[in-house]
């Protein structure tokens, strides 16, 4: 038990910020984020015995975080919101060069926020993993689908966002 406790403490120390960041994608509400963070830690604790090192610790943490967020938002997952701001790391990954500057204009960022919130829960999870800077291979490992499938899905999401932000019609 002591060994498990040490291992758990190490993981929380090394990945606490990352886990908080994932929580912040899913809720603007501080209390909800706190609850989600706590749920993720509970699931890390529960899964610790089964960690054999087959996946990298990063993939392992992201799997638990995404799976917990799905379970967490399962209570009302259709209402789940995805929160980004100009400080969100890797935001430029969503768009071409120069778009980030445009996004800094408040109206554009608000529009992006609205569009992100209209995405499905799985698309939100894919976006959150992409914003975390994970490679397509890593995202595929987390979600459990093939790498080409991830590429297709992310390409589709980006195209939809681009079209909507440039004034295209909503589907």
């Amino acid at each position: 038990m002591v060994n498990k406790e040490n291992k758990f403490n190490d993981i929380v120390t090394d990945n606490g910020k990352r886990i908080r960041r994932i929580c912040s994608y899913y809720s603007p509400n501080h209390e909800d984020r706190k609850d989600m963070y706590q749920d993720i830690l509970v699931n890390i604790w529960k899964s610790l015995d089964s960690f054999r090192g087959d996946a990298s610790i990063n993939t392992w943490i992201y799997r638990i975080a995404v799976n917990t967020s799905l379970g967490f938002t399962g209570k009302a997952f259709k209402q789940m919101q995805m929160i980004v701001d100009v400080d969100t790391e890797n935001l430029s990954l969503l768009f071409d060069e120069g778009t980030k500057e445009k996004l800094e204009q408040e109206a554009q960022l608000n529009q992006l926020q609205i569009e992100l919130n209209q995405m499905s829960v799985i698309d939100k999870s894919l976006m959150s993993l992409m914003l975390e800077g994970l490679s397509m291979r890593e995202i595929a490992d987390v979600i459990g689908i093939t790498e080409p499938n991830v590429k297709v899905k992310i390409h589709r999401i980006k195209e939809q966002l681009k079209s909507k932000l440039s004034g295209g019609k909503h589907e």
Binding site: N9, L41, N43, W45, K46, S47, S50, G71
Partner: protein
């Protein structure tokens, strides 16, 4: 890192490690209580088994065998269920976890069927006596057709007449009533359990399964 550091990391959520340990211990506690119950029952039943066998006769031995079989099968089903619960991990790829969730929250499982034999073994073991045996034998050798049998079983379910007969010790006049009573009672218990279980599933587990199915569809699209 000590507990106070953890608390700090979890936005001051108190003794978080203690909460995690409690989570682990809760399930273990339930299994521990059930194990102790089994041990206590065994301690009670071993002398009973011994005296029953000492009495001699085929019925006593068959009774003991069925009760032992019922307990052991229950223990086996229980250990299997415990193993399955322990296997649930949030660290699996999302799609696999969702598929497992969908399976886990289906209304019917093979494991549910596995709990029927031990119930029947215990019912036979606890209810077997020369009288019940003879009544059953008479039932199977009688020319009573199925519809008459069902009418009698239904009468037992919806009227207190047979209970009254039983209480008035007039069962000797019609020994087959025992078969009807047991059948009626079993049907009643099964129907009530089925309806209660289904309502519980609809209100508590169906929404979870529906969410999982929706997410699986979305991922696989």
């Amino acid at each position: 890192m000590n507990n106070s550091k953890i608390s700090q990391d979890t936005n001051g959520m108190g003794s978080f490690i203690d909460k995690l340990k409690r989570e682990d211990n809760n399930l273990q506690k339930i299994f521990k209580i059930l194990k102790i119950t089994y041990i206590v029952l065994l301690i009670i039943y071993i002398p009973i088994f011994y005296f029953e066998i000492e009495k001699g006769g085929l019925f006593q031995v068959v009774k003991v065998v069925f009760i032992a079989l019922g307990f052991s099968t229950f223990l086996f089903v229980f250990a299997y269920a415990q193993k399955k619960i322990k296997k649930i991990s949030y660290a699996e790829p999302t799609l696999i976890l969702l598929k497992k969730t969908e399976k886990r929250y289906r209304p019917f499982h093979l494991l549910d069927l596995a709990s029927i034999p031990p119930i029947l073994f215990l019912a036979i073991g606890l209810g077997l006596s020369e009288k019940t045996f003879l009544a059953t034998k008479e039932f199977f050798s009688s020319d009573l057709n199925l519809s008459t049998y069902l009418v009698e079983a239904r009468q037992f379910l919806f009227s207190g007449e047979h209970w009254f007969k039983m209480l008035a010790k007039t069962v000797n006049e019609f020994p087959m009533i025992i078969v009807f009573m047991v059948t009626g009672m079993l049907i009643f218990i099964f129907v009530i359990s089925f309806v209660a279980g289904y309502l519980l599933w609809v209100s508590k587990y169906k929404p979870i399964r529906d969410n999982a199915l929706e997410l699986i569809k979305e991922i696989e699209n």
